[in-house]
């Protein structure tokens, strides 16, 4: 144990305080800046389905829906791909081959999101447009397009973290399973997967967090049409239509126009607060899952 006067203690303590302070003051800043809109709209800000800044109406629900819908598509595509690939690299591939597969996937994580956005604009929009032809879509800008683009973007996160989770299961347990006569596949299903479950869930949640927060790539392909709240929430049809996410709204011109008008600016900051709360909530949840894993291992 180091003494109280040790500079390391002071320095690390101050760093912790600062880091935590940044996070909390950011939440506080958004909360304070968004006060005017909470005062006018109350909880209607979250539940309202009309957003017309020129008419002074601010309801964020269609954007919350758009964010959740695009992220759900992303997860629905990236989860089976990412988990499947992780299972293969962790359980089947010999260790020497593992990096040869992981590296190209992890390269995907290093591609700047604006590059994804431009690829989406150039390729994915047209592809989705042709795919949806039977449903007579307006254009290739849809929530589905945004979701598919996000799926590619979160794939490396999901796969790498899932791979780590599976590799974290002690080899002795696998050997024990094999020693009992289980095949490799049976050992993977019966031992590795259940033991790695919290880590796998955390991989999905962290991927989801990235999908929720991604801006520029979504901005370019989602269509940015306001007030697209579907009549039936669980219907798939709205995915073939343009929509608006929290991030695509925040990344648009309105953020610049809002400055100087307290109510409009408050509404924009309110969207930021909602997004922040969503991502923070997910991060905390996945953090707890990872802790649970660490506790059991």
């Amino acid at each position: 144990m180091r003494g109280r006067r040790d500079p390391l203690l002071w320095w690390s303590g101050a760093a912790t305080l600062l880091a935590a302070g940044f996070g909390l003051s950011m939440l506080a800043l958004f909360a304070v800046e968004s006060l005017p809109v909470w005062r006018q709209e109350g909880l209607g800000f979250l539940a309202g389905s009309r957003w017309f800044y020129r008419g002074g109406e601010f309801g964020a629900l269609p954007m919350i829906y758009g964010t959740v819908a695009a992220a759900a598509v992303a997860l629905a595509v990236a989860a089976p791909l990412g988990l499947g690939a992780a299972l293969f690299t962790a359980e089947v591939l010999p260790a020497s081959w593992r990096m040869a597969v992981k590296l190209p996937v992890e390269l995907l994580a290093g591609v700047p999101s604006v590059v994804y956005g431009l690829l989406g604009l150039l390729l994915l929009r047209d592809w989705v447009y042709r795919l949806l032809r039977p449903f007579d879509p307006l254009s290739g800008d849809t929530l589905l397009t945004a979701g598919l683009l996000l799926a590619v973007m979160i794939l490396p996160t999901v796969m790498t973290l899932a791979d780590d989770a599976l590799r974290g299961v002690p080899a002795s347990q696998r050997r024990a399973a094999r020693g009992l006569g289980l095949t490799g596949a049976e050992a993977a299903w019966g031992v590795s997967l259940p033991r790695a479950l919290p880590g796998l869930a955390a991989a999905l949640l962290l991927g989801l967090g990235r999908a929720l927060g991604e801006t520029i790539a979504v901005f370019l392909v989602v269509g940015r049409q306001d007030n697209q709240l579907p009549e039936r929430l669980l219907s798939l049809a709205p995915l073939a239509r343009p929509g608006q996410t929290l991030t695509s709204k925040l990344g648009g011109a309105e953020t610049f126009i809002a400055w100087g008008d307290p109510l409009h600016w408050g509404a924009i900051c309110g969207l930021g607060l909602v997004l922040l709360a969503l991502v923070v909530g997910l991060t905390l949840w996945s953090g707890r899952l990872l802790e649970a894993r660490a506790g059991r291992a």
Partner: protein
């Protein structure tokens, strides 16, 4: 002994770099309209080459974004494709907007190739309003091909949108509240219209290349369709002409003044012409909205 010495040298050179940056000519930050942007970017590049002035040009938020940045002190010069409005002056009472016209641009309604080839070549104001408000949802209703209308709306509040809404409804503030898919920069608008059958958007005529997107002629009260070409704009016959502006807070000073001088000078005006806009001498002085 060697190590600390090297660290000290590094620290000193970093300090020197900081001081050097402080002593160098101040940076001019320019922000706003993507329509004005290409002219200013090239003017800035030439000025930087010749004088070493640092000029940063950014298009975040379009015209209104530029005006807000100017009022907020985040930019020294705003680029705008719409005039400073009474609303701007009310919203930023402490900013003394000094707009300087640098050229004239025609705002076009552009359509995708399938519409152009399907015979959609001109619109009158009533038809444009019907398209904007969604009262017309298929081009057949306007004598075009059987195709759904995809109206990519320039983000409300941007210069292009304000000029368009002002033309349709007299005052942009009177425009009805609609929710359409939105586009931001001119590049995005052009690429989306080019790749979407049945698409129309509001776009600076200089960006209508006549290969991927096509500028419609507008029919005035007289009934004759008028294309947004230089001659019609210079003569004031094309209804959607607008001046392009550089705006400062109070009269331009220092490096910002040199940028304005350059753009208004012969070389800057040549850039205005080369990017498809009308130089001031060819009609910029006349009364455009």
């Amino acid at each position: 002994m060697k190590r600390p010495g090297r660290v000290r040298v590094l620290a000193l050179s970093a300090l020197a770099a900081l001081l050097g940056a402080a002593a160098a000519p101040a940076t001019v930050r320019v922000q706003g309209s993507t329509t004005v942007n290409p002219v200013v970017v090239e003017a800035a590049a030439a000025l930087t080459r010749e004088t070493g002035i640092r000029i940063l040009v950014d298009t975040a938020g379009g015209s209104s974004g530029g005006i807000a940045a100017l009022a907020d002190g985040r930019a020294e010069v705003a680029m705008s494709s719409r005039p400073v409005s009474a609303d701007d002056r009310k919203r930023y009472p402490r900013t003394r907007f000094e707009p300087v016209a640098i050229g004239v641009d025609a705002l076009a309604l552009v359509v995708s190739r399938d519409l152009w080839e399907g015979g959609v070549r001109s619109l009158d104001r009533e038809a444009a309003a019907a398209l904007y408000e969604g009262r017309v949802s298929n081009w057949r209703q306007l004598g075009g091909p059987d195709r759904r209308v995809v109206f990519f709306n320039k983000e409300p509040g941007r210069g292009t949108w304000e000029v368009f809404a002002g033309w349709l409804y007299g005052d942009a503030a009177a425009a009805p509240l609609v929710s359409l898919p939105e586009v931001g920069s001119n590049e995005e608008a052009r690429s989306k219209v080019a790749s979407t059958p049945g698409a129309i958007t509001q776009l600076s005529a200089a960006w209508a290349d006549g290969q991927r997107v096509f500028a419609l002629a507008l029919r005035g009260a007289g009934g004759a369709p008028i294309s947004p070409d230089a001659e019609a704009v210079a003569a004031g016959r094309y209804p959607l002409a607008r001046r392009l502006w550089l705006i400062t807070d109070g009269p331009a000073r220092g490096e910002a003044a040199r940028l304005l001088e350059f753009v208004l000078g012969p070389r800057g005006q040549e850039l205005v012409r080369r990017h498809g806009y009308l130089p001031l001498a060819a009609g910029g002085a006349r009364e455009a909205p």
